[in-house]
Structure formats: C-alpha cells, structure tokens
C-alpha cells in the first residue's frame, strides 16, 4: 500500500478501509463502457482480506459489471483491477476465488452430487465433500437431478459452486433473488459461517436489510459511480434527512411543504410525517407557524432513507 493509492479515494470515503491488511481486491479508476452506456465510471475501492462487503445499488447500477470484472469475465475499458495482487483471470485460475453468478443454469442430466463434485475437482484444494454439503445445505437434494430443483434449491447448488474450492474470496451476485424468506435466512446463516472462517466475501444486492445486517461495509453504487462507501452506521450518518412526526387535526400538505428544509410530507388522518434535510430549521419554522400540533418527535434516518437519498436521481 503506498501513499498514491491512499489519495485516490472515492468521492465519499468513510472509515479507514485503505489501511492495514492485504488487499483482496483493488479497483483503481475502473471504467466500463458498452457502446454509449457507461456501466462503470472511474470506480475506486479496495477490499481487505477478511472483509464482508455489500455492493448495494438499484438495478442497472453496475454491480454485476463490477463483479464480472473482478472475476475476469469482462475486461475493464480503463483502469486497473486486481485480485490478490494479480490480474483477476489469474486469480480465478489459481483457485483462490469462488463465484455465485446471478444467472447461470445448472448443467442438466446430472445429479446435484455429480455436478458439485465435478466443480470441486476443478479446484486445487477443494473443500471436503461432507463439509461442502453441510455448509451449502445440500444433503436433502444431493441425489436429485439438477433439472428437478426449485429456484431456491438451485441457488443452494450455486452457493456450493462458490465455496467448493475452499476459496479465500467469494463473489455472490444477488444470491437470494429466487429464495423465499426461510431459504433466505438459512442462506445468510450459511454464508455468515463461511465468512467467519476468515474468508473475504463480496455480495451484490438491492435488498437494503441484507446489506445492513450482513456486511461490515457497504459500497453504494448508482449509475456506475460509487456514491458512498462505509459501514452501515457511517452511511446512515451521511444522510442528514430526519423524520419529524407530530399529530395535528388541521394539517395541510401544501402548507407543510413550504416549511424550511421540508422535502416530503405524508399525512394519515391526524398524524403527520415530514422528511427534512434540515430538521432544526424545519422545527423552528413549525413552531413559528400557526398550525396546532402536539406529540412532536424527531428521528434519524434509517438505512432505507440513506439509500434513497444517495441514489435519488
């Protein structure tokens, strides 16, 4: 790690992720263009060995493109991308990287056991079969043919692919998309156990609560650019949106909208909810106004407010 790389931080670099342990992933000014579409624009981040990082963003933000570059499946139009200090493709060939892709049918005509064992044998130091089946929760479907699996079951097999090689770094692209609530919970519990054994995990998601609950660090992407990078708490604190709640029998949305700092007004019966980018000023304006109100409450933003504020167009 040299001083030059430390200086090139994204627009909003929070925390001190550039200091300390070795880099698992290094992205320096990475851009990716498809024709006239800028999928990624000068994206910078480093991921330390052992971190669990969420790549959060709306659909089309560039999450899958970034993962494809980190896997060597796509070559960046500009910039430097490295995994464990080498070209991503070499890192994949060395077997230190595992991936669970968003799409990707399973090979048909074989059993789960045959397919997963085949993938295991592609790696130089694979995970033992018993451990893998346990970690990916495959015992009950091991002898089923791949074409007879439900969406959630197929995702379990794909997770097994990702960890079959006992990799140091795992990429998961929208891993819980086809899962119901129960399988989603089981999946994250398996994933957390895996991450706890010292592996680096990077997962893409558009579920805020997943990023908030699982990741040590969240990188928020929007329109191919990093708009925030830090812990969930840090990201929440970057957003100065506050929610002001009170009860009022005669509140009118149009009037409330004119209060200093107010960005959004919602009225349900007598209860009013005001979003404000400057809660102090809004409350002052509210006190000065002629409106009759009681039960005033001011609350900080939650991760969802932060995310919406960061990815607002």
């Amino acid at each position: 790690m040299n001083a030059a790389t430390l200086e090139r931080t994204p627009d909003l670099q929070l925390g001190s992720h550039s200091i300390g342990r070795a880099n698992a992933v290094r992205f320096e000014n990475v851009s990716m263009t498809f024709g006239h579409v800028h999928a990624l624009e000068r994206v910078n981040f480093h991921i330390k060995a052992g971190e669990t990082v969420a790549l959060l963003g709306p659909n089309g933000a560039g999450k899958s493109t970034a993962i494809s570059i980190m896997l060597g499946l796509l070559h960046a139009t500009a910039g430097v991308s490295e995994v464990f200090g080498v070209d991503p493709q070499h890192a994949v060939e060395s077997g230190r990287v595992g991936a669970m892709l968003q799409t990707g049918a399973l090979l048909s005509g074989v059993s789960v056991r045959e397919l997963v064992n085949f993938v295991r044998k592609l790696y130089p130091k694979p995970m033992a079969e018993a451990e893998l089946f346990e970690r990916a929760n495959l015992a009950s479907i091991a002898d089923r043919k791949t074409q007879a699996l439900s969406g959630g079951e197929a995702q379990r097999v794909r997770f097994a692919f990702a960890i079959a090689g006992n990799p140091d770094l795992v990429f998961l692209d929208e891993p819980t998309v086809a899962m119901d609530v129960d399988s989603r919970r089981d999946f994250w519990s398996n994933m957390r156990q895996f991450a706890a054994s010292g592996r680096t995990v990077l997962f893409a998601t558009h579920y805020l609560e997943e990023a908030d609950a699982i990741a040590d660090r969240i990188i928020v992407l929007n329109h191919g650019k990093i708009v925030a990078d830090g812990s969930a708490t840090e990201i929440k604190s970057t957003v100065n949106t506050r929610v002001i709640r009170f009860t009022s029998p005669d509140a009118e949305a149009a009037t409330l909208q004119t209060l200093t700092g107010a960005t959004d007004v919602q009225i349900h019966g007598h209860s009013v909810e005001l979003q404000s980018s400057d809660a102090d000023q809004t409350v002052r304006a509210l006190v000065r106004s002629e409106l009759a109100w009681r039960d005033l409450e001011v609350q900080g933003a939650d991760i969802e407010d932060a995310f919406l504020a960061l990815t607002r167009d």
Binding site: V92, G95, A99, T103, L107, S108, L122, F161
Partner: protein, 246 residues
C-alpha cells in the same frame, strides 16, 4: 478437464436422443435392410451385410459425435453455464477438449455395437486384424465429426441447433453414401459426395472390410477436415462473447 469429459460422457449416455439416433436408428436400419435386401447381393464385390455394416457404423458414429456437441453447446452458451465455468479454474480450452473428447467417446459404442451385430446376426466374417482395424480406425476417423458437433453449437442458436444438427447429419449420411450406396447415386450427387468428409470416412471402413488397405487420400481428407474444422472451431470459440451476457 478429464473430470469434465467424464461428466459429459455420462450426460450423453443418459440422453434418450443419443440412444435413439446414434445406436437405435443405425442398428435398426442395419438389421432391417440386411433382411429386406437379398443376402447374396453385393456392392463392389462386398456382401451387402458387410457393406451396410460399415455404412451404419459410420452413420452412427457421426450421429453420436454431432449429437453430443450441437444443441448442448448452443444451450450452454445461452444459459450461463459457460459463464459459470469461466469463473472456475477450468482452463478456457478445457470446455472444447471435454466436449470433443466426450463426442469421441460416445461415438465408440455406435461403431462397436454395429460391428458386433454384423458378426452375431449377419455372420459377417473378417479376420481378427480386420475387425480391430475396422472398429479402431473408423472410430478414430470420427474426429472431424466430433469437432464439427462442437462447431455447430457455435453456428446455431438454441432454437435452431436441434434442426441444424439433424439436417447436417442427414446431409452427411446421404451424400456420403451411407443410406444408399454411393455407386447407385446420380453423378451430380457423387460430385457433392466426394467433397464431404463422410464419404471418405465411410470409404476407409469399406476398404478395410473388403480386404484392402485404406486409401491415403481418404485418410488425408479426413485429417484435413479435422484440422480445418478444428481451426474454425477455435476461432469461433475465441470470438464468441454471447456467454458473457448470458
């Protein structure tokens, strides 16, 4: 790579379409037409049962080789399986080697079973050396068709691959003189036939069972086809980017 080949062989052998087209049809035709046509008939001084054994063995081998590539390759490019493989340490050429190797492996039972049927049911008599040479060399010379099967998967899409593979198989079989003897075909068809790898492929077998050594020219054409088709396949494989967006 070897593990992948084993997995592919298992997949093809379990496929009903493989069993029907590559073993069922040629074996059925062989047993049927050697009964429909008088046993005393000869083609080029060869008994019909001997001649048609080679026709169906080579037809079955081509069928097996094409079936194991074609549709599967087209499907796997489109459905993301190739992308998934690219995210593993399998070297990129491993895919081609596994597919081509599996196609060769599944071509063997077609040749072997037809030869066995010839010996057991149609009393074809050859010296032990000729049997080994016929089965062994015919099998080895199926190589350009194993390569072609993979290539078809790059030339066709998922929707057209099945029809494309089947039509290619039928064209190769008809112009190669496998369905009815080359000698009985109109002149124009024979000209086309001589340009196909299948005619020369079958001719290697026919020469062996009639007691002659295979012609160098036939072997050369088969080898040339293997090399040229191999080069085209490598090029298509390298330039294909459809799997990336799968």
């Amino acid at each position: 790579m070897f593990e992948y080949m084993k997995l592919e062989i298992r997949r093809v052998l379990r496929d009903r379409r493989y069993l029907i087209f590559s073993i069922g049809f040629p074996l059925g035709f062989y047993l049927m037409y050697t009964r429909a046509v008088s046993a005393t008939d000869t083609v080029d001084h060869m008994p019909w049962a001997t001649f048609y054994m080679v026709s169906m063995a080579t037809f079955g081998a081509i069928g097996a080789a094409l079936q194991s590539g074609g549709t599967r390759v087209a499907t796997e490019r489109a459905n993301g399986w190739i992308k998934q493989l690219r995210a593993t340490p399998l070297p990129p050429r491993g895919y081609l080697v596994a597919k081509g190797g599996a196609a060769m492996a599944v071509a063997f039972p077609s040749v072997f079973l037809i030869a066995l049927a010839g010996r057991l049911f149609n009393h074809v008599s050859l010296s032990a050396a000729s049997w080994v040479e016929m089965v062994g060399l015919v099998w080895l010379c199926a190589l350009p068709f194993a390569v072609l099967g993979v290539l078809l998967g790059y030339l066709f899409t998922v929707d057209s691959a099945q029809a494309g593979t089947t039509l290619t198989l039928f064209a190769l079989a008809i112009f190669g003189g496998m369905w009815w003897p080359f000698q009985l075909m109109p002149r124009a068809m024979r000209y086309i036939g001589e340009a196909t790898p299948s005619y020369h492929f079958a001719n290697i077998g026919w020469r062996i069972v009639s007691g002659d050594a295979p012609r160098v020219s036939d072997l050369a054409v088969v080898a040339l086809y293997a090399i040229v088709l191999g080069a085209i396949t490598m090029w298509k494989y390298r330039s294909d980017s459809s799997w990336r967006s799968a």
